[in-house]
Subunit: 236 residues, 2 copies
């Protein structure tokens, strides 16, 4: 947690902002030795970031006063399309994608995505994972998140409208001939398959609808490792 | 698990190789519907990789016959120096670094590394984490792993001998002016600090001893995210 993310309602009073969320209070208690008069970095969801001063600390709340505005980091001009991950790794993957700053996340179905994943209670907690990612990055702006439970309609009807010469789409695929490019200077879409990868039919359909299959060398990475590896590689 | 890693002793008989490790048997049973006559990718620790044929399957063992030799992926020419991570994330970080193919890993102390981390029982399980990383990547060759429990002697006495004009050392530091380079064509050392980062004294000492501090943009990444992000960025 590199900033504490507050809701706009918590900062309605210009001179007295309140941290009252138990998770945030617990984290600060455990990891930050906060004293009255200390400064604390605060973000307002969808809004500005501020340096604040701690006015008061109790078990139930921390009272803050804004001192100065700070820069909110820019988003990466990337739309990340992910085969829905296993519930167990969903939290980490969403949190990482948000921390890295992708502008938009689409979760899609694929042959090797177990249908039960779409029923996972973790899918109801996406907002919490987004908050954790924003607090890690020091960001305040949530990415757009969509879900598409059918692969073919998504690839044939939605995906083509997202791709153009100025906005390429790269699908990570261990058996592609070309390598994922470095430091591209444009907006792009990155598609990452499930554990076990997309099946050949899916790769073909993605290619037919405008995607370029790109390999990441001859090591097979876990999804979560692949995402940060690809973004580190693509983004200037 | 994209290959099953066997010890050389398990492949001593040229025509009958045995998988007897309960973890590996359990994984195959759970995730791979293996039948007699199927092929299976096998690596021999420190040795070759093979495509094999399944000759027999029982509760206690799987019997295989090698069919053909396969390529072992090359290592990245990177020495990763890490402030010892929290025990809870150590497994994932070591596994990822091995999967990504770093040649050498050094775990070092730093001001923000809790001294108790050096007593963690997880440190006794590094070999297991390495095995998991190799099996994920399809690799057979363990990286060299060293530990240095004192920061200053390591930085002053060991580190300088690892750095040269042809072999730069980059320390990831959020407040550096320069950005981590892209697609360098040389061997390098990458240094990643603990949660909360290196303290200014440590950054100064690293710089005095030949390291270049490089930032990763204005988002603060978790250690595990930073490692794959940096390697994606640096490596051609």
């Amino acid at each position: 947690m590199n900033i504490v993310l507050l809701e706009p309602s918590q900062t309605a009073c210009a001179e007295q902002w309140l941290i009252e969320n138990p998770r945030q209070l617990q984290h600060l208690k455990q990891h930050v030795q906060l004293n009255i008069g200390d400064t604390l970095k605060i973000g307002i969801r969808h809004g500005q970031r501020y340096l604040t001063e701690v006015l008061n600390i109790s078990e139930q709340r921390i009272v803050l006063k804004p001192i100065q505005v700070e820069d909110v980091p820019e988003k990466l001009p990337v739309h990340l399309i992910l085969a829905l991950p296993r519930p167990k790794v969903l939290r980490r993957i969403i949190m990482d994608a948000v921390t890295l700053g992708v502008e938009r996340i689409s979760l899609i179905h694929s042959y090797r995505v177990d249908k039960s994943y779409w029923q996972s209670p973790f899918l109801q907690q996406l907002n919490d994972y987004v908050t954790l990612g924003l607090e890690q990055a020091g960001d305040t702006v949530e990415p757009e998140i969509q879900m598409y439970k059918r692969f073919k309609p998504f690839v044939e009807d939605v995906l083509p409208s997202l791709i153009s010469a100025e906005k390429p789409a790269y699908v990570a695929h261990p058996y592609a001939d070309q390598s994922m490019p470095h430091a591209i200077q444009q907006t792009c879409t990155v598609i990452v398959g499930p554990e076990g990868g997309f099946i050949p039919y899916e790769i073909e359909l993605l290619k037919k609808n405008g995607c370029q299959a790109m390999c990441l060398g001859n090591r097979i990475l876990r999804t979560e490792t692949a995402i940060s590896y690809i973004l580190g590689r693509l983004i200037v």
